[in-house]
Amino acid sequence: MSPTIFTRAFDQRVRTLLGVLGFSVVLGGAFGTHVLWQANMEEGYRPAQPLPFKHSVMAGTHQIDCLYCHTEAYNGPHAGIPTVSTCMKCHKEIQTKDSEGHLKKGIAQLNEYWKKKEPIPWVKVHDLADFVYFDHSRHMNTKKKVDGESLTCAHCHGEVEKMDVMYREHSLKMGWCLECHMKAPDEEHKRPGETTLAPIHCSTCHR
C-alpha cells in the first residue's frame, strides 16, 4: 500500500472536482455542437403545418401567382397570408375526394375552419427576430437589380413552386441579408451618396 499523501476526504474532493470539470467540458461541447447544429438547421427549417397544403401544387402545377394569396407583398411590410375565405374562393368548388369517396384530409380540415369561422394556425417558416423590421414592399417595388436581375420572391424564398411542405431556403440571418445589400451599387438606379447596392446602416432594419 502506497503511503498516504493526501487524506481520503481530500482525494474525494479532487475526484469530485475532476468529475465536475469533466462534466462541464462534456456539457460545453454538447452545447457548442448544438448551437452550431442549430445554425445549420435554420436553412431548411421545415415545421409541420396544420394542413397538408402543398405550394408545389398551387404555385407549381396550377401556376397560381404568389400575389393571388400573398396580396400585400407590393403594398406593405408583410406579404400577408391568405384568409380562409381566399382558400374557399376555389375550394368551395374544388372538393377533391379520395378513391374511397371521402373528402381529402386537407379539404375536410379547411371546410371545418370555414364552417367554424376560425383562423388556420399556420406555423411561421420565415420567422425573423422581433427587432428586425423587414419590409416586403420595398424589396418588391425596387428597380435596383441584383447581379443584373430584378428582385423576385424566389431570391429569398427559393423555388417555392417545388416545395411540398414550405421550408426556409436561406438562413435569413443578417449576414445573408448583407450579402446583397453590400454589393456594388446598381449605377442606373443609384440614389445620391449611395456606396452600396442597398443601405447598410443599422436603422435600415433595426428600430
Partner: protein
Amino acid sequence: MSSNDAHSRAGSDDNASGSPAAFADRPEVMTRDDNPLPPEDNSLTRRTALKMFSATALLASVAGCTRKPKRHIYSMVDRPEYQRPGIPLYYRSTYTEGAFPYGLVVKTIDGRPIKVDGAPGHPLNDGKSNAQIQASIMSLYDPDRLKTPMRGREALTWGQADRAVIQALKNATSTVLVTRGLLGPSERELAKRFLAAAPGAQHFVHEPAADRVRRAAWKAIYGADGEIVPQFDKADVIVSIDCDFLGTDGNAIANTRGFAASRRPEAGVLSRLYVAEGGMSITGSNADHRIPVRPSDAGAFVLALASADGGKAAAAKYGWDAKLMAALVADLQDVKATGRKAMILAGAHLPASVHAAVAIANQAVNAPLAWNPAPATLPASDPKDITAALDAGPDVAIFLGVNPVYDGVGSGMGQAAAKAKFSVAHGLTANETLSSATIALPSAHNLESWNDAQPRQGMTSFCQPQIAPLFDGRQEADSLIAWTKALGTSDATTNAAKDFHAYVQARSGFDSRAWQDALRNGFVGSAATLGALPAPVGARALVAAGTAAAAGTMDVILAPHMSVGDGRHGGNAWLLETPEPTTQLVWDNAAIMSPATAAKLGVRDGDWVTITAGGATLDLPVAPQPGTQKDTIVAHMGFGRTLGAGVGCGQGFNVFGLSAGELLVTGAQVAKKSKDRFSLVRTQRAHDQMDREIARGASKKEFDEHPDFAKHRRHIVNNNEQIDTPWDYSKGHKWGLGIDLNQCTGCNACMVACQSENNIPIVGKEEVAKGRDMAWIRLDRYEAGDPENPEVSNLPMLCQHCDNAPCETVCPVNATAHSPEGLNDQIYNRCVGTRYCSNNCPYKVRRFNFFNYTGKTIDTPVEELAQNPHVTVRMRGVMEKCTFCVQRINTAKFTASNAGAELKDGDVVTACQEACPADAIVFGDANIKGGAIDSSRAANLSYHVLEELNVRPNVTYQARVRNLHPSLDQGAKKGGH
C-alpha cells in the same frame, strides 16, 4: 357603418406572438413537434432509463436555451375592408373624457388603436393634442377596468343588472341622476327622455374641477349662459390673473396655439404676457412679467389696473412691484391710443366680483374675446344642491361617469351618496363610487363608444368606436336607452333605437352616405360660429370692494393637475409619471408654497404641514416652489385615489376634503406637523443653468440691438475637429429637428406622445427617485433671478443626434453608430449595457433599462395591445434613446420610394412634433434648401446647446425673446460678441 364591420378583432398579422384563446382547447395545434421524450419501452433497464432521462433532460434544457419557440401565423377568416397587415388605418373620433370635445385621429393597426392624435381642421384643437389625449391609449388597455356588472362581489350579466335597475326605478318615487359635464346633444336629449320617464327624477352635473363659479358669474355679467373664447393670436397685451390658460384653464390646446402664434419675434410678432398669480403655473413660466399676487387680492389687483395713480397705492399696500405695476397700467392705458389689443383673463377659481371687474376692464382695452353661447359642457351644479338631494335619501341614485365618493368628500356628497336606497354607478374601473354602489356597471371607453358633441353652435363632432369593447363594457348612454325604454317613453327615436349608435345616427338626420362622410371627417358644420362678446350689463352690480384677507391666514388653491386632472386620470401610469410642469413632481401632489414661507414655517421639502380651513384639516408634504406667492399654497387635485386606480391607488393625497366644492379656500391656517418626512420625487433637481447658456433668451431690446445674440453667448475655442466618418452628409437625407423656445410652453404633450409612439415603459416612483426614468424627451426647466419670483426657461431635451457623437466612440460593441442620414442609431440587439455611452453623453438623454420595466409593468395580454408594433419593445440591460422616430422616417421613405417619388419636406412628422399644440417642433431633411430645418437653422435666433463641445448636434434651438415693457427693459445683461 356598424360597430364591428371595419374594426374586426378576428385574425392577426405576421407578428402574431400569442395564441388566441380559441386554440386553448386544441392540443394538437399547439404541441411541439420536437417532443424530446423517448417512447416507452418495457425492456429498458433502470440504468439505461436513467441515462436516457438525463440525456433528454440535458437536450431539452439546451434546446430551450437556444431554439426560438415555434410561432404561429394566423390567417384571418375574412379580411375586413381596407385592412392590410401591419399598415395603419386612421379613423376620426372625438375626445369625450374632458371638458372640451377635441377632434381625434386614431391610428389603428390590425384592428387595435395604438396612437391618438388631434384631428386636423377641428376648430377646438386643429390637429393637436395634450398629454391626456395621448395617454387615453393607456386607459383603454387598462387591465384594472371593470370587466362585468357587479352587485357587491357578485358578478351579474347585463340582463340581470338591467332588470335590477329597472325594477328599482319602477318602484321609485324619487330618482337622482348625476352625470359629468360634457354631454353631447344626443346624450342631453336622452337624459331629458330618461328624466321624463323616471318617477321624480332630478338631474345634476358633477364636475369637481369645472369653472362653475366663473360660468355663473359670466351668466350674471353677460346676461346669458356661455363661455368666453379668447383670441390669443389677435392680442398684443395679455394679462392673466391666476388664469392658467396654457395649462388647465379653458381650452389649453387652442390657447397654446393662439399664444404661440403671437410669439414669433423674427417675424416681428410678439405679444406681451403679464401674469399675476398666486402659484407658479406654466402660464406664469411663460410670462414676460410675473407678479406674485395672492388670490384674495385679485379683485384689488383688477381695480388697480384702472387706477389713476398707476397702481402705486395698491402696490404699496399689497407688496407688489411698483415699477412693474406702473408699466402694466401704462401699457393697458395706451392700448386704445396705439391701436393695439389687450385682454384680461381671470382664473376659474376666483370669485364673481373679480370676473365682473375684469369684464368692465376688458371693455376699455379692445379685448379680442369671442363668445360661445352654447358651450359643449353643461354648467356644473352646486355641490351643495347635489349633496342635499342625496341627503334626502332618494329611492334611486344614478352616477354616470362621476366619482363623488372620491372627489365629494369635502361637500359631504361622498357620504350622502350612501343614503340612496338603491344606487347605480357607471365607470371604467371599480373606483370609489362604483365600489360603494348597489350595482356597479362597466363603461365602454371613449375609444369604444359612439357619441356626438357640440363644441360650437351649428357644428357637431362625432365619436366612433375604434375597437369593440375589450371587456364587457357598455357605454352609459346605452344603459340610459335601455332603462328609458323599459320605463316607457313616448319618444319615437328612443323607442326605435336599438342602441346609442342608432340613436345618434337617427338624430343626425343623415342618410347612410352622409353619415359615412360625417364619420370620415369627424365633424360637420361650420367652425366659425362664435359670437361677439355681449355687453357686460350685469357687471356693475357684482363688483364689490374686496375685503382684505385676514392677517396670518393663507389662501389654498385647489388646482386641477396638468396630467391626472381632477382624478379621472388618476390610474393612468403614463400620466402619473409625467412630471407636473412646474414642480416636476411625479406620482404625488404636495402643498406647494414659496421657499420663504417654508422657511418661516420651519419646514423643508417633504416635511409635513397641516392645513386647517373652515373646520377641515388636511396633512400634506411640503414642496417649496420658487415663484409661489408667500401667502398662497397650491394643492393639486387628482391624487390619493383609494380604489379602481390601479398603480395610482395610494399615490399622493386627496385634497378634496379641504373644500365644499370651491376651488379657492381662503382663511387657511398652516402649521408644521411633527411626523416623519415624506419622500417627494422630481425628475429634475437642479434648476440653475450655471452660466452654461443652455436655454438662451434675451429681452426685446437686446434682440433688437443684437438679433443674433444667441450665437454669441458662448466662447468657442476650436470647432473644426471632426470625427472620421465614411458618410457624406451633404448627399441624400440629413435629418434634423428644430425647437423654437418662443413657442414651447412646457406642457408635456410631447413627452406622452413619445411614450405612446415608442413603447417607453414607466418605472415607478422609487426608480424615478434613483434617476432611472425612461422618457426619451423631457422638459428641462431653469430658473434664474429672484428666488421668490424667478425667470423661468423651458427647454425640451432629447437626443441631439450629434455628428461628432461622444457616445459612439466609447461603445465597445458598436451598438450605437451613425447612419449616413445623420441619425445616431441605437441598436438594441447589439447593446450589452456597459452604459459608457450614457456616461459620455453631455446632454444626459440616454436611458438605461435597469430592470425589465416593460415586462414588469405589462403582465396581461391586454396591455401588450398598447404597444406600437413598428417599434422594438426593449428588454432589460439595454440602452435606449430618441431615434428621431426612425420608424416614421422609414415608413415615409418606403412609401415615397414605392410610389417612385422623392420625399418632400414635411413628409416625416415625429410623434412629438405631431402632438405639440404650439407647433414649436419642426422636423425634416436639412439638405432641402429652404425647407423647415434649413430655415430653422438659418434663423438669427438659432443655436445649439453646449455647442462649445463641438459635438455638432442636429437639434437646433431658437432662443426665447422676452417682450419686456420698454420702461423695464435693461437690454443685454452680459456682453455679447
